[in-house]
């Protein structure tokens, strides 16, 4: 077990590079996220923010640089990588609940198969998590029977069931109807208050203001600004950020 000195980087990206063919999608990315920090990544579409998020648990491979999680360099493949991924919770834009499994089974699958928990123990913890995100009633249903907002809250519970060291959110509200966005954001704000380390790619500026410790602004594969929310929203330094923020306010 590595112990944490407060202020230690839990997630650390050093000179990370990635191309999609000709497109240089991540350019020399350096980012340190400390334990308990909530980092919101924003930027125009195509800026590489989702790729950055997905690279942290190696759903996207990288070509250069290193990514370390809790002091361990991300392994390339195999059992070691699977083990490390179990420590990194991930919430997707399209929920990706296992379509053939019930809500309860979705949440217990990881603890039972990866962590070797007993079924009874896993179900007890899963029910507690489902209650916590407000969908305890839905436990015996299949994912398709739930609304998008409910599915996304189940997806958060599924990730939390692994007791992750850090949670990644890849545009968690972008596929939701407007009236369902808040129920998901509320869960995320609560999680942030409880001290979870979070990296959140989102377009929800309200969430960034409310819950973020830092806002990272990306454009064209680069980190352009890395500020407190207050500083970023009231006093953006770069033209790219000023331009981006002005466009948000026009309508």
């Amino acid at each position: 077990m590595t112990t944490h000195v407060p202020g230690d980087a839990l997630v650390s990206l050093n000179a990370v590079n990635k191309h999609y063919g000709q497109l240089h999608v991540l350019k020399d990315i350096n980012l340190q996220v400390r334990k308990g920090e909530v980092v919101v990544v924003i930027g125009p579409s195509g800026s590489g923010k989702s790729t950055l998020c997905r690279a942290i648990n190696r759903l996207e491979t990288i070509e250069g640089g290193t990514i370390t999680i809790d002091g361990k360099v991300l392994p390339e493949e195999g059992k070691e990588l699977a083990k490390l991924r179990a420590d990194v919770g991930m919430v997707f834009q399209s929920f990706n609940l296992f379509a053939h499994k019930t809500i309860l089974e979705n949440v217990t699958l990881g603890p039972i198969k990866v962590k070797g928990a007993s079924k009874a123990e896993a179900e007890k913890e899963a029910m507690a998590l489902l209650e916590r995100v407000g969908v305890g009633q839905q436990a015996p249903k299949l994912p398709a029977q739930l609304s998008g907002g409910q599915q996304q809250r189940v997806a958060i519970a599924r990730a939390l069931a692994m007791k992750p060291k850090v949670m990644l959110f890849d545009e968690p509200t972008s596929a939701l109807d407007p009236e369902m966005i808040n129920e998901v954001l509320d869960v995320m704000v609560q999680l942030a208050k409880e001290g979870m380390t979070m990296i959140v790619v989102t377009h929800e500026m309200g969430f960034a203001r409310k819950a973020a410790d830092r806002v990272v602004f990306m454009a064209d594969g680069q980190i352009v600004e890395d500020e407190t929310p207050e500083e970023f929203f009231t006093n953006p330094k770069s033209d790219r950020a000023k331009d981006f923020l002005s466009k948000l306010l026009t309508h």
Binding site: A82, R85, M90, N96, F98, A99, G110, V114, Q145, A159
Partner: protein, 215 residues
Amino acid sequence: MNTLLNNSDLFITGFRNTLILFFFSAIFALVLGTIVAALRVSPVPAMRATATLYVNVVRNTPLTLVLFFFALGYPKLGLVPIDFTTAAIIGLSLYTATYVAEAVRSGINTVPVGQAEAARAIGLPFTQTLTLVILPQAFRAVIPPMFSVFIALLKNTTVAAGFSVFEAGAIRANLSERGEPAMTGLLWVALVFIILVFILSALQRKLEQKWKVAR
């Protein structure tokens, strides 16, 4: 009707052997075909290449030749001796497995990539991602083509008659020896096959209803 009743011994033995061939070949083909399909989506290039080679070689060979090999060629290799029924089961399994593999692979392709990503994200390794998340959904998506493969297998068992296995396809020859009209015998054989396929189709409908995946 007399042709059937007077020779019920032939019909019963024949179809019993047909069902034995079908049952064992179907199980082996399902297991082997699923493994081959899994290899074809494996991240290891050598595994993909091996599985692709197997599917292309065996699927492109006429079934008669595959059975010829096991009935006549295999004994000359000097390995463990096998009887004709076992040889037929091995041949039918290896042949049908290629079709099962392709059906399963097309099913794997219908499962959204996000399902595999979510499985990997909670720390499941490749094999468990496949067996716990991808394959159960893939099978549900390919029940109709899978049953077509098994219906074809059921009828393909009659090819084994040519290799000294007394199954339904051999009933006519034996009826002729007893002086029965061949055409009547063939019609009865065909009718029993239609009934057997009907049972398979009913099973298919049942599974389709039970395993509907809602998205």
